[in-house]
Amino acid sequence: MTDYLILRVTAKFLIPLILLMGLYVQFHGELGPGGGFQAGVIFSAGLILYALVFGLYRLTQSIPVFVLKVLSSLGVLLFAGTGVVTMLLGGEFLNYNLLAENAVTGQHLGIFLVELGVGITVASTMLLIFAVFADQEGHD
């Protein structure tokens, strides 16, 4: 791969900021604009930028495809699991009120967990889609 110095340096500077922005949108989601979906897309955009500049191989070395698959399932299970826990606590599916002593904290916690699940799934699925398409040149 040709070495583009400017691209490499700018990417190295930008990637941490993009990831930080992703985390901010994720964890501030229930208070301000944002949420799991947006955060997941931003976070994965940072990692995709890394793969574009430094090669897919180095990305899949640090995050193997199998881990991405597990993460994408884990997010869904976290979402559904939150709902199942509220059912086990005696309420309806996704009735967050029961997750904590008082209802407001419960709602906070519930939304936080559900959005975390969404964020994990969206980020890992975006990376999976990217990996599948970027990995094709060797096969045809």
Binding site: K69, V70, S72, S73, L74, V76, L77, A80, G83, V84, M87, G91, E92, F93, L94, N95, Y96, N97
Partner: protein, 499 residues
């Protein structure tokens, strides 16, 4: 578990097992998980139907938010009836799919992606069941998308590369359908201010004369008609059914279009209301496109050489019969439509399964390739005969009951033209299925090619069991109609709000 809890569990169970299946390394384990899920869903659906027949409908409030603000899942007789059909077909199809993972190795779906395939089927059935139980029009759209996305993935697993084109074509048209539905929902929301089906139906009569409402209704109906593959909008269906793996085709033929039909009836009859749509040209349009579907696509089926495509065109024709049932706007018409939904799900799923088994031993899916299989595969061929008779509507099979009911409903309305269409459609069905049976039983194999194994015919045990369960069901519900017919009648009277 209370019935309300079971209502959410039946949707949730496949949704939770799907991601687990996706990461399970062993195809066998993924299949067992899926089969266990299918079994549980079926048992829950049986219980729910019994509960509804016993004590009337009930609803579940998601997240503890009361409707009309929160999302509500609502079960009435019609919903419970369709839910039972879905879970039953899903269970039988999963039994059939067991051969995909076995040691005999039916290479219809590569073993490496079999867990993904099972995850997709689970997501698909979860979405379809969600459409059936939800009482919220936007939630219906969400479930429609879940089911559709899983379906596109399943169709693209077909062996030939043409499957990708078929899946993409369905993706484009399916997305257009879903978008139309969403635009319609948006317009109706702007007019009524609610997404809850029950509240919307109470507000509808006053708002019907407004142009926005009418436009919204039109968008919703056309979007669902595209998903249902009603006659002029059916172009995606033959390709998708032909190119998909046979287990996927069998599953889709018994579930996907049936749920789209459910959604169409739910939106028109119970949300828009009977009086509302009686004033619009909709019933007439439904009768016309239904009649055209029966005649034109049956005729097209006669011209097909590919067996799966032949059956796919026949599916479009059968959708025509169901649509005619709705267009008649009577309890008898709807009853006939619902019974046909049930009977056709059994019949067509069985036929596609039988074709799938035959194709394991042929070069391709063309008609001449199955020549002589009647002698070489007696059990599979006998099942083809039973299900084919049921599709035509020979007395003693399930298909006869629903066609007779439809004929009866048409005669009661003095719609002699429709009655004539039904008779002609059955005769056309007779022609295309007799062509198939003729080649299977009375033609000698033209040439034994090297691709065709002579003696070692593969008829995996799970596949033939699943097929015969459906074939026997076709006979059973043709001889003992009190259950299917009475539940359908109850569903029809219930949804029309008359006694």
């Amino acid at each position: 578990m209370s019935y309300e809890t079971q209502l959410i569990v039946v949707i949730l169970l496949p949704l939770v097992v799907a991601p687990v299946c996706y990461v399970v390394p062993s195809p066998r384990v993924a299949w067992l998980l899926t089969l266990a899920t299918a079994m549980s869903c079926f048992l829950i659906a049986v219980q729910l139907l019994l509960a509804v027949l016993d004590g009337g409908g009930f609803s579940y409030h998601l997240g503890g938010w009361a409707p009309p603000v929160g999302i509500e899942y609502r079960l009435d007789v019609f919903a419970a009836f369709v839910l039972l059909v879905l879970t039953a077909i899903f269970l039988v199809c999963q039994l059939y799919a067991g051969s995909l993972t076995g040691k005999s190795g039916i290479k219809e779906i590569p073993l490496a992606i079999a867990p993904t395939f099972f995850a997709a089927t689970l997501l698909c059935i979860s979405g379809l069941m969600g459409i059936v139980v939800t009482g919220d029009v936007f939630n219906l759209f969400v479930f429609l998308e879940i089911a559709s996305l899983a379906t596109y993935a399943m169709i693209s697993l077909g062996r030939q590369r043409r499957a990708l084109t078929a899946a993409f074509q369905y993706l484009v048209l399916g997305t257009i359908g879903a978008t139309f539905f969403l635009i319609g929902v948006g317009l109706l929301y702007a007019e009524t201010g609610t997404l809850n089906m029950q509240e919307m139906s109470t507000l509808m009569p006053e708002l019907v004369d407004r142009r926005t409402t009418f436009t919204g209704m039109t968008f919703v109906i056309i979007g669902l008609a595209l998903k249902l593959a009603v006659f002029p909008l059916h172009l995606w269906l033959p390709n998708a059914y032909t190119e998909a793996p046979s287990v996927v085709t069998a599953l889709l033929a018994g579930t996907s279009t049936k749920v789209a039909f459910y959604a169409l009836v739910r939106m028109t009859v119970s949300v828009f209301g009977l009086e509302t749509i009686a004033d619009t040209p909709l019933p007439l349009i439904l009768l016309i496109v239904g009649a055209l579907a029966v005649i034109v696509t049956s005729a097209q089926a006669i011209l097909q050489v590919n067996i799966k495509r032949l059956l796919a065109y026949s599916s479009v024709a059968q959708i025509g019969y169901m649509v005619i049932g709705v267009g008649l706007l009577t309890v008898e018409g709807l009853t006939a439509g619902f019974v046909h939904l049930f009977n056709h799900a059994l019949t067509k799923t069985g036929l596609f399964m039988a074709v799938g088994i035959m194709l394991l031993n042929t070069v391709d899916a063309k008609l001449p390739s199955v020549a002589g299989l009647g002698r070489r595969m007696p059990w599979t061929s006998a099942a083809v005969v039973i299900t084919a008779f049921s599709l035509v509507g020979i007395p003693g099979t399930a298909g006869f009951i629903s066609k007779w009911a439809l004929l009866d409903a048409a005669m009661a309305q003095e719609a002699y033209f429709i009655a004539g269409v039904i008779v002609i459609g059955s005769l056309l069905a007779c022609i295309y299925l007799l062509r198939l049976l003729d080649v299977m039983y009375f033609r000698a194999p033209e040439k034994v090619s090297e691709h065709m194994p002579d003696e070692t015919l593969t008829v995996p045990f799970p596949m033939i069991t699943a097929l015969w369960v459906l074939a026997i069901a076709c006979l059973w519900f043709g001889l003992f109609t009190e259950h299917s017919l009475s539940v359908a009648k109850l569903a029809a009277t219930n949804i029309m709000g008359v006694q």
